[in-house]
């Protein structure tokens, strides 16, 4: 590696980045898009709540009739049946359902015998407080349906994930992952536009007729992009107070996020025919990558499909570390998956960029 040449290219890219008025326009455009997203979201909270129950059986039918009654009163509940206690527990942890009820196999018989059975309730630490009240109310209703007598069931609640000890997360803190993804994605505009401009104007061709190797060229572009994205994201996260609890985890998450947007920038630059099409594609990518952080802001807003978007794992890691104080034991999995996405996306970006250039 000729580091002098790589440093020269990085300095050149930084110089071009700060001299291009186009990026100022993109910044304004992005802000407009996010304001648009904000107003496109429902002005009131979607009251459809998802819950899981184990085991399947006769008592579930009692729950169904209760849910139908709730729906008649305007409260929508989405019921999922699980085949095992462990699966239900994991679904709550993964945010697939907001709460889980573990019903004893002999619930109805115990109620009829007046034994006062115990029902398990799994709640995520960051679930809304009203969810817990609703679950308890639902269990009380279930007792009435199955035995004709109220308040005969004991509810033993277990909080899954980091315990917030009654300290709910303010909405503005829930927005931290969204801000992180937004800031990182701004770099996609910068990188993909600069790269596309180099392809269109032929400056890239001038570079590759020097002793510079293709690998050095991509490394210089990638390092510039990661440096720009990471430094901006760190400044924003510091300003939002997100580095207070787990700074190292946030740093690693943002570093992986910066690599992710660099790979996406490579892909977009190779896919677009000109600057305008690259900008359009980057806007689309920005909108897609912004979806998972919205799920943090509004728990239960999205279902499992959101996991196909790599920024989901970045948002989860930042949310858990910055807002819930989660340690490596809780965040290693999403970070590992994000790393996997990075390898695939950066690799694909380099390959298509090479092919486009050839």
């Amino acid at each position: 590696m000729r580091w002098q040449a790589i440093r020269a290219l990085m300095r050149k890219d930084l110089r071009l980045f700060f001299r291009n008025r186009f990026f100022a326009f993109i910044t304004v455009l992005s802000l407009g898009a996010f304001i648009g997203i904000y107003f496109a979201l429902p002005p009131t909270l979607d009251e459809t709540l998802s819950m899981g129950v184990y085991p399947p059986g006769a008592t579930v039918e009692g729950l169904r009739s209760l849910i139908q009654a709730e729906e008649a009163e305007g409260q929508a509940l989405d019921l999922h049946i699980f085949e095992s206690d462990a699966a239900l527990r994991q679904a709550v942890l993964d945010d697939d359902v907001m709460a889980g009820l573990v019903l004893p196999e002999d619930l109805q018989a115990a109620l009829m015998a007046g034994e006062g059975p115990t029902v398990g309730l799994y709640m995520r630490a960051d679930a809304p407080a009203e969810m817990r009240d609703m679950m308890v109310g639902l269990v009380e209703g279930l007792s009435l349906v199955l035995s004709g007598r109220p308040l005969e069931i004991e509810v033993r609640a277990e909080t899954l994930g980091p315990d917030l000890a009654g300290d709910p997360i303010p909405h503005r803190d829930r927005m931290r992952p969204l801000f992180a993804v937004m800031i990182l994605m701004m770099e996609v505009f910068g990188l993909s536009s600069l790269l596309s401009e180099e392809l269109v104007t032929g400056t890239l061709r001038a570079l590759v007729t020097t002793p510079l190797r293709m690998g050095e060229l991509f490394l210089a572009k990638g390092l510039t992009s990661v440096f720009m994205a990471l430094s901006q994201a760190l400044i924003v996260m510091w300003a939002l107070g997100a580095l207070g609890q787990q700074p190292l985890i946030i740093l690693v998450a943002l570093l992986l996020g910066s690599i992710l947007v660099t790979g996406i920038g490579f892909l977009l630059a190779a896919s677009g025919r000109d600057m305008l099409s690259v900008t359009g594609l980057a806007t689309l990518a920005l909108l897609i990558l912004s979806i998972p952080p919205l799920g943090v802001l509004f728990p239960g807003l999205f279902t499992a499909w959101v996991r196909a978007i790599p920024s989901h794992y970045l948002a989860v890691a930042i949310h858990q570390a910055a807002n819930l104080g989660a340690g490596w034991a809780q965040v290693w999995q999403p970070l590992l998956i994000l790393l996997g996405f990075n390898i695939v996306i950066v690799g694909a970006g380099v390959v298509v960029l090479k092919r486009r250039f050839a």
């Binding site: 000729r2 002098q4 290219l9 104007t201 032929g202 001038a206 020097t210 002793p211």
Partner: protein, 287 residues
Amino acid sequence: MSEYAIVAENLTYRYGELVAVDDVSFGVAQGEILGFLGPNGAGKTTTVRMLTGQSRPHEGRALLLGLDVARHTSAVQAQIGVCFEVANLYEQMSAAENLALFAQLYAVRDLDVDALLRRVGLAGRERDRVGGYSKGMKQRLMVARALIHQPRILFLDEPTEGLDPVSAEAIRNLVLEERERGATVFLTTHDMLEAERLCDRVAFINQGRIAALDTPHSLKQRYGTRLVEAQVATETGALETREIMLDEPETPGALQSLFSQEQVVTIHSREASLEDIFIRITGRGLS
């Protein structure tokens, strides 16, 4: 080391089914200026890309200064300068910044930017952003960029295309100066007069193949015809052109009858141009 600075051995390159360069072989001696002439789509740019390490040949090989370009790309590229047909400079940066960047890529530590810009007639404009330059200024800056590291081989792709006469002349003089320095020049051009003036030898490329390769003088001798062109006045006063081929057995008689039977208004001899020869060899024009 080979006495040739550039050797192309059976170079072949395909775009899908289309054979862009078909089994091309030639050599360019050190210190020589070779003109590479052909119409658009003839395979000029593809050949240059293979010679400069931008594309790998599908068959054959290119040797520059004795090194296989495909295997020693970086080592070869450290010894060559390339000036492209279309301006590909960083327009948001100044001329000095553009040159400084490429000096670092070529690991040139003691570049005298002012002297280099003075040489291409851009003294005093080194701090201006290139985006504000005219086409001729950009072209001169690209030549300067190609000369940063004093390359042993210079590839110039249509360096004077569309330029004003002053800029074009400045670049032609630079090419000749580079030859004086000992550099080998590979010049791609449409301009036959330029090729004739600058080049030691010219190669005609057509449909991916070398159709002819020799000095302009030899090509003219081999393929060209000399003639006399006269304008004569008719009985109605209109002017008509008469052409009489030289070097033919009937030439003396034809000339004699021209002067005795016609009213000659103007007369001059005409030599075949390289373009005429190109058309004669390939059956098509250059433009």
